[in-house]
């Protein structure tokens, strides 16, 4: 096996490197990729089209919003898949645990507990900032969502999985994860209903008379980012909760 692997890897590496001399130079602004009309268009027209300075956000949520929708679906699938594979029916799905058996403070350090109590709200606030400010700075639904999810994970690590699950029971996080995708898709479908192509946010300005097409694009991007954040944060927590407890959703690390 090792030899086969080595040969395969060397072959692959050789193949990959064999094209190296055909590559454009490092950092060449006029390489085909960098000077193509597509990338030029993004840089030049993002402001005109939607007024979002962060081109990555604009491309992510608007020009290639279709990809991002499926990316969100991928995240959702990951969560569902892990539940489908790992979840064992020790409790009724979604039902809260009837007996909060052990006290939080028992096994967990008080310093960690206190720090987390201070840290988690800040973390969550920061997550919301990242989501909301994705138009102007690095960030957006994914990053913010992951941070939000991380705050729940932090709570689960610090206090144990059970208290965290009491606040955010399985049924709720699964539902919210679905809701996230629903939010995303409904923006697209709204465009569809108003007679334009799927995810053509510009047409949404018809809904609010005070809004221009560009604003509509900008705001819709925020909307879909919020949807993404819902799904991502909930699924990240779901992945952690299932993996940490072997799918029993009890005890945890």
């Amino acid at each position: 096996m090792k030899w086969i692997g080595l040969i395969a890897v060397i072959f692959t590496g050789g193949l990959l490197l064999s094209a190296m001399d055909d590559f454009p130079n490092w950092g060449d602004a006029h390489s085909p990729a960098n000077s193509s009309p597509v990338s030029q268009y993004y840089i030049e027209q993002t402001m005109t089209d939607s007024g979002v300075p962060n081109m990555v956000t604009a491309v992510l949520a608007d020009y290639r919003g279709y990809d991002t929708m499926f990316e969100t679906v991928v995240v959702l699938i990951a969560g569902i898949a892990i539940m489908a594979i790992l979840r064992v029916a020790k409790q009724v799905p979604g039902g809260a645990k009837p007996t909060p058996a052990h006290e939080v403070g028992d096994q967990h350090d008080i310093i960690i507990g206190t720090t987390c109590r201070l840290l988690i709200p800040v973390l969550q606030l920061f997550a919301l900032y990242v989501i909301a400010h994705g138009h102007h700075s690095p960030g957006g639904g994914f990053q913010g969502g992951v941070i939000l999810g991380a705050s729940f994970i932090l709570a689960a690590i610090a206090k144990g999985l059970d208290p965290a699950l009491q606040r955010l029971p399985e049924k709720r996080y699964v539902k919210l994860a679905f809701v996230g995708v629903v939010i995303y898709v409904s923006f697209g479908v709204a465009c569809l209903i108003l007679g334009e192509n799927f995810l053509d946010y510009g047409v949404l300005h018809e809904l609010l008379p005070t809004m221009s097409a560009e604003e509509a694009r900008s705001h819709s991007m925020l909307g879909v980012e919020i949807g993404v954040a819902f799904t991502v944060s909930m699924i990240m927590f779901a992945i952690y909760a299932n993996l940490a407890s072997k799918g029993e959703l009890e005890g945890g690390l």
Partner: protein, 81 residues
């Protein structure tokens, strides 16, 4: 960005990748993998890909490492290779 710095990180990247694959303790491997993610996120930030770097910092160095560790915790820590 400063190219010497760039090359240094690239070399470190290879080193951490090899270490995380060679360490027999899976917990340590997960940790080193977290370091690897962090380094590569630095590299991307340097290359101007701030959004990618941000995502990698949260996802790669954060969530990936955590779920790896969670799995190692629930299974076995030592590995034969």
């Amino acid at each position: 960005m400063i190219w010497q710095f760039d090359i240094l990180i690239l070399i470190f990247l290879v080193v951490t990748a090899v270490i995380s694959l060679q360490v027999k303790d899976l917990l340590a491997a997960s940790m080193v993998f977290g370091t690897y993610s962090f380094l590569i996120c630095l590299l991307w930030a340097g290359m101007g890909a701030v959004d990618v770097a941000f995502t990698e910092a949260t996802v790669g160095a954060g969530i990936s490492a955590v779920i790896l560790i969670a799995t190692v915790y629930n299974t076995r820590r030592d590995s034969s290779d």
